[in-house]
């Protein structure tokens, strides 16, 4: 009985997967494999490529720009992801308080996510203008002398991080809100009956029930933050100096401005390696921390 069952299950599985798989292999996985192949070549886009073996990877070690870009990206990720998660979760909790107008607030709070980056990045540049920009003006009301933000060595990256958190918290907020709305009332009532405080019921009911959503948002946020590009390009163009040059920016420049396709592909594979390790670690942790109902 069992072998036949499994066969039917396998066939069914493939039928369900096939529509996605065909398109995925052709349009998504194929180009990724191509990028991998390109990393082994010397290619300037216009002349015939020559085989470079692992030389492109060897160039990475002594390349200071690569390491500084990697460092900048890590700095960006490890600050923006927790901040974004915090803001998304806090706002989801706030909106989940049984408001009647939740729809309005939820839509309004999605606006930052929905505005097109190339336009709203310029607005942020104006907000960050050292003398007369809104941010420093408001800081001035509290007696704080704001820094030069986007042209300051130390504050350019935090300025970018703040803008990115603002731009991307909407996604997590909606995901968490959906998750929160699905938590049954009974669980909270049971906790209340047991005498739990607000914090305890948050820790013992909300967090475990929300853990699949938390996991999803963390994984996608980290993956996404490693690929931040548009706003950095527009707001600082990687400067001052190379302080806000992210790895993806360096990869883009290497490939499209310096016409060094093989090197760009090699860099992206290394970036890929880092993300794989981090994501795999998260998947391992999820077995212990994330609760699925089975």
């Amino acid at each position: 009985m069992t072998p036949r069952w499994r066969n039917k299950e396998t066939i069914a599985a493939w039928l369900f997967i096939l529509p996605s798989l065909i398109g995925f292999l052709i349009f998504t996985a194929g180009p990724v494999v191509a990028a991998g192949v390109i990393s082994l070549l010397n290619w300037n886009l216009f002349s015939s490529p020559t085989f470079a073996g692992l030389r492109n990877f060897a160039r990475l070690g002594p390349d200071p720009t690569f390491w500084s870009a990697l460092g900048n990206t890590a700095y960006f990720t490890f600050l923006s992801v927790p901040l974004t998660m915090l803001v998304s979760l806090a706002l989801a909790l706030l909106l989940n308080q049984g408001l009647r107008r939740i729809a309005v607030f939820r839509s309004l709070l999605l606006l930052p996510y929905a505005t097109i980056t190339v336009a709203v990045a310029f607005v942020w540049i104006w907000l960050y203008i050292p003398h007369g920009g809104l941010v420093n003006t408001v800081l001035g009301w509290f007696g704080v002398a704001g820094p030069a933000w986007l042209i300051s060595d130390h504050w350019a990256m935090p300025a970018l991080i703040a803008m990115s958190v603002w731009k991307s918290f909407g996604f997590g907020m909606v995901v968490f809100l959906a998750g929160l709305q699905a938590i049954p009332q009974q669980l909270y009532e049971a906790a209340r009956v047991d005498g739990s405080s607000a914090w305890q019921s948050f820790r013992n009911v909300t967090v475990p029930m929300l853990s699949p959503a938390l996991f999803f948002v963390i994984v996608t946020s980290i993956i996404g933050s490693f690929q931040v590009f548009d706003q950095a390009l527009i707001m600082t163009n990687g400067g001052p100096g190379s302080r806000t040059t992210t790895l993806v920016m360096y990869i883009y420049r290497t490939g499209f401005e310096n016409y060094d396709q093989g090197y760009a592909a090699a860099q992206s594979l290394v970036l890929f390696g880092f993300i794989v390790v981090i994501t795999a670690a998260q998947f391992v942790l999820q077995r212990r921390l994330v609760h699925y109902d089975n």
């Binding site: 039928l15 300037n44 002349s47 540049i125 600082t236 100096g241 420049r253 310096n258």
Partner: protein
């Protein structure tokens, strides 16, 4: 029942796949025999110009003209993708700054053989600066459609109010005079003497006027640390940091000398004549004069753009491409360009783009023709994107006063030398490909 369902879905999916591939192949391949060309174009005003070009091409060649107009920001990326996938037009516009970049990598083909085989084509009708910009490694890769020197705009109203005589229409002033004037006219925060872009594109004009350059004559090493270049850079930085005759910089990315000048409180602006279209919106009287002369005279940067033919174009298509290229850069076409008043056409025989008012706009043509002042075609390398990136990373801090000029130059010279070596490598590889 399940097996029936799966058969049905299988048929469904196969059908969809066939339909999809059918759709894909049915549409939009290049109409055979059409004159395809690509150009950057953002504003509707620009579009009108290129539409007029298109009509002219159709009149002259009696075949369909199919221009691909892309917003200027995305033009290089799109061109690269088209070239690598073999879907580029027969003729593509190239910014002069990028001609060596594309030529050295074999993206576009040299035109010398086509020019030699064509007795009707007068290369001499093109300004020498345009020809120089379109040349790489002693071969011609493009035919120019526009070319212009950097000039000095001045706010007539502001100068008159301060009781200062307008600068000479044809004689460039000396750097010392310029500096004095700028300082005299600076009354922060209401009024400033000068504005330019805090980037190598504007710095380079001063470097050329001082007799220096970004790299040495054979392009093998950086020349920024040579006294001429260093003094020129120091002069400009002093205007920003020491004399403070420039409006304060609030963001290096959106800093616009045009926006500063149009505010009406800046006396002089360094910019190209291509901004005339925008400066005409000014609410004050203004005019242009030749660039201030340094030790080597008034030789600011001369920039231009050309049309080129991708390497992959061969056989009959090549003949069509050459005809199209000639038509797009013919006197008739460039007259259209001149009439639009957006920039100076690359041909001597084409009309003037800059008609009064104001009075002195004609000086642009005179400068190009060598009658007045002078100019220096923009010297770029085969990896100019990287050079620009490097200089754009380190030099702006000097404008902000965060780093001294000698420090900045010392810091970037080793890396610039490395880029020059790579530039030489690119040239060598281009040579090897030729043979």
């Amino acid at each position: 029942m399940r097996s029936e369902l799966s058969r049905r879905s299988l048929l469904k999916y196969t059908g969809a796949a066939v339909a999809a591939s059918g759709l894909l192949s049915a549409c939009s391949s290049r109409p055979p025999g059409a004159a395809t060309w690509s150009m950057w174009s953002s504003s509707p005003a620009e579009r009108k110009v290129w539409d007029a070009f298109s009509q002219y091409v159709e009149q002259q060649l009696m075949i369909e003209s199919v221009p691909t107009l892309t917003p200027s920001g995305g033009y290089p990326t799109k061109l690269d993708l088209q070239l690598v996938s073999g879907t580029a037009s027969l003729v593509t516009a190239l910014n002069g700054q990028l001609i060596p970049t594309y030529a050295a990598r074999g993206a576009h083909r040299p035109l010398d053989d086509l020019i030699a085989a064509d007795p009707d084509f007068e290369l001499d009708d093109f300004y020498p600066a345009s020809r120089k910009i379109s040349t790489f490694n002693h071969q011609i890769y493009g035919i120019g459609f526009d070319v212009a020197p950097t000039v000095l705009y001045y706010n007539k109203t502001l100068l008159a109010k301060a009781g200062i005589a307008a600068p000479s229409r044809t004689e460039p002033m000396t750097w010392a005079t310029f500096r004095e004037l700028a300082k005299e006219l600076t009354r922060p925060p209401d009024q400033y003497g000068f504005t330019c872009s805090p980037a190598i594109d504007d710095l380079v004009s001063w470097i050329y006027c001082a007799g220096g350059n970004v790299m040495n004559d054979d392009g093998s090493a950086s020349a920024l640390n040579a006294p001429e270049a260093t003094e020129a850079i120091q002069f400009v930085i002093d205007l920003f940091v020491k004399d403070q005759v420039t409006p304060p910089i609030s963001n290096l990315v959106t800093e616009s000398s045009l926006a500063n000048f149009l505010e009406g409180n800046v006396a002089f602006m360094q910019n190209g004549p291509w901004q005339v279209v925008n400066v005409r919106k000014a609410k004050f009287d203004w005019d242009v004069v030749p660039f201030p002369a340094g030790a080597a005279g008034s030789t600011p940067r001369v920039s231009g753009s050309s049309f080129a033919i991708p390497s992959g174009v061969k056989g009959d298509e090549l003949q069509l491409a050459w005809k199209l290229l000639k038509t797009l850069t013919s006197t008739g076409a460039l007259d259209i360009y001149a009439k639009a008043g957006r920039n100076n056409p690359a041909r001597l025989s084409a009309g003037s783009a800059f008609k009064p008012p104001p009075d002195n706009l004609g000086v642009v043509r005179d400068i190009l023709a060598g009658k007045v002042a002078g100019g220096h075609p923009f010297d770029v390398t085969t990896n100019w994107n990287q050079v620009k990136q490097l200089l754009g990373q380190d030099l702006p801090r000097t404008f902000l006063g965060q780093v001294s000029v000698p420090e900045a130059i010392e810091g970037l010279t080793p890396r610039l030398d490395v880029l020059m070596k790579q530039h030489q490598d690119n040239i060598r590889q281009a040579e090897a490909r030729k043979g």
